[in-house]
């Protein structure tokens, strides 16, 4: 099929972000194909045009959204695809679609994690699993509820390919959604992943009741540390002060998003078992990867180390966080 016929927009993953995104893009006048590997979910959305459990605030999914469970459908009909699955589903879902993708496809993801001692980014994994090269990442303080309600939203798209950025802007930008862009895809991916560790730390601090000053100190230092780590892996430090880094950190703390909530519970109760009920919080796995990667490269990461120690049980959370706040004696 010629690319000129691939005019639909593909969205992989019918979770909260996927459904919300599909609705928004369709309401901008685009034909949207929404892929899920879950037959039940597809059937439910097809029958009722909403997903009450997942996006309760969405009364009716836009008519321009077609749901499919056929992995070949999106590559055949779309040039631009968004990967919105959760980190857990990503490998199995993407592996089904990957063989159908070719060099003309543009794939933008929103999965903010890092992998292994090389702190491999998700866009690198997308490339290694498929034939695509034109990749991008989306991050920022954007939320499905705000988007659906038409409240102001902003995301940053990181891609070294100007056409990918232009394509995202064309389908996504609107009066209420600001789409910023940068060619520093590394920066956006590192900033979005690493800021979750800072958020966790802020949550721990507040859970421990260490006070406002301690909170500010830790967020500031955590931010500086994230920037240092990102820079060591090729990200531009300037990107960290944008939406994916600073923007997301402020937003996550204010909204008590999963990483912050997890940190708060750990801080308050000292219990580590909370991690299991916060599978959306990728801060713990990012922290574990960063601690290893930084040790190999000789990069000091006291903030991340404290988070990791507290979560792994190596150090009681109070000691781990308190230690960060002690001055020279």
């Amino acid at each position: 099929m010629a690319e000129s016929q691939r005019t639909a927009i593909g969205i992989i993953g019918a979770g909260r972000v996927g459904i919300g995104l599909a609705h928004v893009v369709a309401s901008h006048g685009h034909r949207v194909l929404l892929f899920t590997s879950l037959e039940d979910r597809a059937a439910e959305i097809r029958a009722t045009r909403h997903a009450t459990q997942i996006v309760p605030e969405l009364a009716s999914l836009h008519a321009g959204v077609e749901v499919t469970t056929d992995p070949a459908a999106l590559p055949a009909a779309c040039t631009l695809l968004f990967v919105t699955t959760s980190r857990d589903y990503f490998p199995s879902v993407f592996e089904r679609i990957a063989p159908e993708l070719d060099g003309a496809h543009q794939v933008v993801h929103a999965i903010h994690t890092l992998d292994g001692t090389g702190l491999r980014r998700v866009s690198q994994r997308l490339i290694s699993l498929s034939a695509i090269r034109q990749v991008g990442v989306m991050a920022g303080p954007a939320h499905v509820a705000d988007m659906l309600a038409g409240r102001p939203n902003a995301v940053v798209v990181g891609s070294a390919y100007p056409r990918v950025v232009a394509a995202v802007r064309a389908v996504f930008a609107s009066r209420s959604i600001v789409v910023e862009s940068t060619s520093d895809i590394e920066g956006v991916e590192y900033a979005a992943a690493l800021s979750q560790v800072t958020t966790l730390l802020a949550g721990m601090c507040d859970g421990l009741g260490l006070g406002e000053a301690a909170h500010s100190i830790l967020v500031t230092r955590g931010f500086a540390e994230a920037m240092r780590v990102g820079q060591a892996f090729g990200a531009s430090p300037a990107t960290f002060s944008g939406l994916a880094g600073l923007g997301r950190t402020i937003d996550s703390v204010r909204r008590i998003e999963p990483n912050y909530a997890l940190g708060q519970i750990v801080g308050r109760t000292g219990s580590r078992s909370a991690s299991e009920s916060f599978s959306d919080a990728l801060g713990p796995e990012v922290a574990a990867a960063v601690v290893k990667a930084a040790a190999l490269r000789g990069i000091p990461v006291p903030m991340t180390q404290a988070v990791h120690d507290a979560l792994s049980g190596a150090t009681p959370v109070r000691d781990a966080v308190q230690r960060l706040l002690e001055g020279d004696r």
């Binding site: 000129s4 070719d102 060099g103 003309a104 699993l129 090269r133 070294a160």
Partner: protein
Amino acid sequence: MSLSDLLPATLRTRSPISRLNDEREAICREVVERVARRVAFESATRLEYTVEALLSEAAHVELARMEERGLPADKQLYWRKLAQTVSRARDEDSLEELRRVSEKYATDAIGHFSQAAYWLATGLVPAGIALALSSEARWSMLGGGGSLSGLADRVRIEGNLEHLRRLAQRGTLVFVPTHSSHMDNLLIGWAIHHAGLPAVAYGAEVSLFDNPLTAAFMRNLGAYRVDRRLEHKLYKVVLTELSQCLIERGYPGLFFAAGKRSRTNQIEQQLKLGLLGSVVGAYVRNVTTGMVRPEVFVVPVVINYTHVLEANTLIEDHLRHRGKGRSIIEQDEFHQPARVARFIQDALDKEAPISLRFCNPTDVFGNELDELGRSVGPAGQVLDTRRYLWVGGKPAIDRDRDRQYTHELGGRLVETFMRNNTVSPLHIVSFALYEHLRRKHGSWDFYALFRFARGLRISTSVLSGEVERLARLLRREADAGRIRLSPEAAALDPVSLLRGAADGWATYHKPAVAELVEGYVQVSEPQLVYFYGNRLRGYGLENELAEGTGGYGHG
């Protein structure tokens, strides 16, 4: 069976290079046209690419170089006049001048190639070096020509050569080797020939044409002249366009990944994206112009030496210019026949092997190739690579996109180089020794280490411990396919590694880099310990090695 099947494989592969003489003028004309187009495109957004800026920069660099060489004023006349008039000239005159200068550069660069001379050059003797030496009647230095045949045994050519020979029939091969030594120019030419692959057109430093040891050989290998002292944009644009033009016309190409010899002996981490861009550019253009056989295949080559001929000069240059940009070395060991002879003699006597490893070829997007030359994706699916170029349903040139494709190809090449880097006991023990010194004397800065470590003694038991820990890490890396061990290092037995390294330190370099003396290793040339150890840098081993030392210092 046809008559040609009876010929040895090497004589059957007649390179497209044999057309070069007929096409020279047409190529030069085309390069000039493309330079003009490219300048028009770039200058729209970049001030430094206006005709005026390019010409005035060219004139200043040329003049500076002429003064350096002490050329008389009358030789400088053309450039002096250009420098003075370019800002006042009419646009069409400047453009005409730009074309004239580009044509001069293109004509200077492009070489003559004779198939007969090529066969002679590569076929007469087992190694290209020997040809150069014989032409200078330096046989006696080598104790007679007989031993030269042994050199071929010392140079290992590795890789799936059959695959490459098949690919040569289906597309244009571009070899991208790592670069350690001027010897590379001769070895790679010889190896390509020896492997039955078509002769390549490649840009080699002008000094190799000036050097009587290599001049004849270089010309006949299809090398064109690159004068790296001409550090200005117009010259680079001309060379990139020339490179692209040659690849598009089906001339197999070759360029060294980083442009210059690795000063530190570390595997190249930063590649010259300009020339690599000409490879991507050639494919893109071939497809957009509807060429029948547009394929361009990239062949990474890792040239592994135990000793590097110019080790002393390279590392000294690095220490002098660290962090101060690049420098051009005009005279080094390569220009001293006695040094070259000693290097070869040691390679023959002391089992200091050299290997050229032809790595798995890819398309210009980094995808692997099947035996029919088709690109294959990670799931084994056959890819239509023209899709990479699609804009609105058909292939189109998009410089921003193609620049990024080039960048990614560069990244993949570096990974391939790292994985195919083959380290020997000399490299391994030198790395362990240098890292030990660096940690033990944490208060010495980078330069102090080289001054103060001269003459230091380290007990062999301490060093053995370091080597043993490093060997464990290397075993893991090698098993994971991230680095290769030479046959001499494969067992990773600390005792034989140490013995191998001691031999290596005492071979070729005089005085020895380091020596084993009564239970100690005595360091004589710390900068060479650093140089040889650097072959293991880039794998993150140093921090892991430091972790296990349990104590002494970072300060």
